[in-house]
């Protein structure tokens, strides 16, 4: 593998949700001890159900949230506690694409203003003409027309808005982009357009992605490696084909078997592992392994100890079943 671009070690992000002055302290452990590495030019897919902490993890990495503990290294440099000018420099290199193309664009700004703004903040180019030229170039790259520059977001469809969002992230020539469910608000035929665009950009500009999604089939399509999250923990990490065709962790197995396949014969004969119950609350997560309350293979030990990551081939899995 090539060089590391991002390294996360034992990252924790907690939120204090205590209500009232005298009540018992309540902490949501949204991300609770996650470690992984993303390499240059790689797409790392992060999957999990709602509430598992995948978006919080993405936001902590771009430093929208401050981590409660652990370490984030970007290009071999510790960025966990950077501030001021250093943080601004970091943000120039790391960008984010948001889920909802209707909420993430300011409806009072023209497309040109939206895409130009990051360049103004970071003082890229000297004149507004140069910036406008760059905006036109970016619109071209993402498949919009240069004369769209004076239009407002409401004049565009969801897929086109997502393209505007992508053009804005590219304005600063980032090396790393966190894509937080970039396609889940889009129609099927438009999703493929956006995925292909993201792949094209990656190929041409050598950008690394952290691709967060709950749609496993799309994640498998775009990612080189996949991490599976459950209740604030990473339970399995590995090359996407391996994880998909031979899942190891009981949660990954259940999650994958639940994905509806677009093929009637396969879908109707497919045996689904239906998980009992619901996701436990992250305020009061189960002791030991977080998944044990719904796991078909749970033993007494799972309640007492928290499983560490075990290396199985190219894969890491947090489950006692694979300990030697």
């Amino acid at each position: 593998m090539s060089e590391e671009i991002l390294k996360v070690e034992d990252l924790k992000t907690y939120f204090d949700v205590t209500k009232g002055l005298l009540s018992k302290k309540q902490i949501v452990k949204a991300v609770d001890g996650v470690s992984f590495t993303i390499y240059k030019n790689e797409t790392f897919g992060l999957v999990g159900e709602s509430g598992c902490g995948k978006s919080t993890l993405g936001r902590t990495i771009v430093k929208i949230y401050d981590p409660t503990g652990g370490k984030i290294e970007y290009k071999q440099k510790d960025i966990t506690k950077i501030k001021g000018a250093e943080l601004k420099q970091f943000r120039k290199s790391v960008q984010m694409i948001f889920q909802d193309p209707y909420a993430s664009l300011n409806s009072r700004m023209t497309v040109g203003e939206i895409i130009r703004e990051p360049m103004e903040i970071h003082h890229i180019y000297d004149t507004s003409e140069e910036r406008d030229n760059r905006v036109r170039e970016l619109l071209n790259i993402v498949g919009l027309k240069a004369d769209h520059i004076r239009r407002y977001p409401h004049e565009f469809s969801g897929g086109q808005r997502q393209r505007i969002g992508i053009a804005r992230t590219l304005a600063l020539n980032p090396d790393f982009i966190v894509c937080d469910e970039p396609i889940s608000a889009l129609d099927v035929s438009i999703q493929a357009q956006v995925i292909n665009l993201l792949e094209k950009i990656q190929k041409e500009m050598g950008i690394s992605y952290l691709f967060i999604a709950h749609d496993l089939s799309m994640v498998k399509h775009i990612s080189d490696r996949i991490g599976v999250m459950y209740l604030g923990n990473l339970v399995e990490v590995g090359p996407s084909d391996d994880v998909y065709h031979n899942p190891l962790h009981p949660y990954t197995k259940a999650l994958l078997s639940a994905v509806p396949v677009p093929d009637p014969k396969l879908a109707k004969s497919k045996k689904r592992i239906v998980l009992e119950g619901e996701l436990p609350s992250p305020i009061n997560p189960p002791s030991g392994c977080r998944f044990r309350t719904r796991c078909p293979n749970a033993t007494e030990r799972c309640a007492k100890e928290r499983p560490g990551m075990v290396q199985v081939g190219q894969r890491q899995v947090a489950c006692f079943l694979y300990e030697k």
């Binding site: 159900e49 709602s50 469809s157 897929g159 086109q160 129609d187 099927v188 035929s189 438009i190 999703q191 493929a192 357009q193 995925i195 292909n196 709950h214 496993l216 089939s217 799309m218 498998k220 399509h221 084909d241 998909y244 259940a254 999650l255 994958l256 078997s257 639940a258 994905v259 509806p260 396949v261 677009p262 093929d263 009637p264 014969k265 396969l266 879908a267 109707k268 497919k270 689904r272 239906v274 998980l275 619901e278 996701l279």
Partner: protein
């Protein structure tokens, strides 16, 4: 197979400030006994509005401009009634009793200030002569049927005490309450997580064998349709462009839009291939194209496609498609006019 529901040439319009939006433009489809019919389309294709027209649930600015909706042979479209009042009276009898609907968002469908038992017993009390006690018993039975543990105590709780998946089960229980002939499910699993979606899909396919209802499943998710439907209709731009059994649609798609749609989704069981997106975006139904609605995005479009809506080509007694490519003239190798 007996037809429970038959829609003939249904047209629905919405008046807006910009003009009339023709959301449903001549839809004809039948629903057989104990059949699960999937209606697939993207947002704005008219799939939900077709079914809202059937249920009489269109918003105030929407109206059916022509067509027939036959439920067991009785025309229940508002056009068949002499007055609005009479139509509403009839629909009130039918809704919940003969036809029920499951909505997309389980978070907003239930009334947050009423207990579950009140909400679940309401359709039973309204449509049958059962006493309150009997209705309660039936409601408990329903909750058990949809897999809610300890229904007696959970009956007394409020919606916010249930998770999304559990709420969707309650909504399904409400739909089943009076053994309706037709259940219309509008994206019932879209708001749910994959593992919860699997639970609900399993529930629906198990119920399929237990109850006598026919189900219409509105969705944009081809995976969901493949796992549950017997027959599938593909909608685009307010029209049905292709109808067939699940195997017709998935293994032998005929319409370029269906083919395009299938190549946009990644089948995770197969090796990664390059996704082939459909270029462009759906037509504006304020001013719908005169010919085929898909013409601007179709790579095989011919001159005639712009000018005239294609007629229906029949491939088998289950499989039909509206596309000029399958017109006999085109099949002979000549360009259709």
């Amino acid at each position: 197979m007996k037809n429970i529901l038959e829609i003939r040439n249904l047209q629905t319009e919405f008046s807006t400030e910009q003009g009339a939006v023709q959301a449903v433009r001549g839809v004809s489809i039948t629903l057989g006994e104990k059949e699960v019919l999937g209606i697939v389309g993207e947002s704005g294709s008219g799939k939900s509005q077709t079914m809202f027209s059937v249920m009489g649930l269109l918003s105030a600015n929407g109206k059916i401009t022509s067509g027939e909706i036959l439920l067991n042979g009785e025309d229940i479209s508002p056009l068949a009634f002499t007055s609005e009042k009479e139509y509403e009276k009839r629909m009130e009898k039918l809704r919940g009793n003969d036809m029920a609907m499951i909505f997309q968002d389980p978070m907003t469908f239930l009334n947050p200030v009423l207990r579950i038992d009140t909400q679940l017993m309401e359709p039973i009390l309204n449509h049958t002569n059962l006493s309150k006690e009997e209705a309660r018993k039936q409601a408990i039975e329903l909750m058990r049927k949809v897999g809610i543990p300890s229904p007696e105590s959970r009956m007394k709780q409020y919606p916010h005490q249930f998770s999304g998946g559990m709420r969707q089960r309650i909504i399904i229980a409400m739909a089943l309450a009076c053994n309706p002939q037709v259940i219309i499910a509008d994206e019932p699993t879209t708001a749910l997580d994959v593992t919860i979606q699997a639970q609900v899909l399993d529930l629906i396919s198990n119920l399929k064998h237990e109850i006598n209802s026919s189900i219409i499943m509105i969705t944009h998710d081809l995976g969901v349709v493949a796992s549950i439907c017997d027959r599938i209709a593909i909608m685009y731009g307010g029209k049905i462009v292709e109808v067939g059994t699940d195997e017709d649609i998935f293994y032998d798609p005929k319409h370029p839009y269906t083919i395009g749609l299938l190549s946009c989704v990644h089948n995770p069981e197969e090796e990664s291939k390059e996704l082939k997106p459909i270029p462009g975006s759906p037509p504006d139904l304020l001013d719908p194209p005169k010919g085929c609605p898909f013409v601007d995005r179709c790579e095989k479009a011919m001159k005639i496609c712009k000018e005239q809506m294609p007629s229906v080509s029949v491939f088998s007694n289950t499989h039909e498609c509206s596309c000029w490519l399958h017109h006999e003239m085109a099949l002979k190798g000549g360009d259709v006019k």
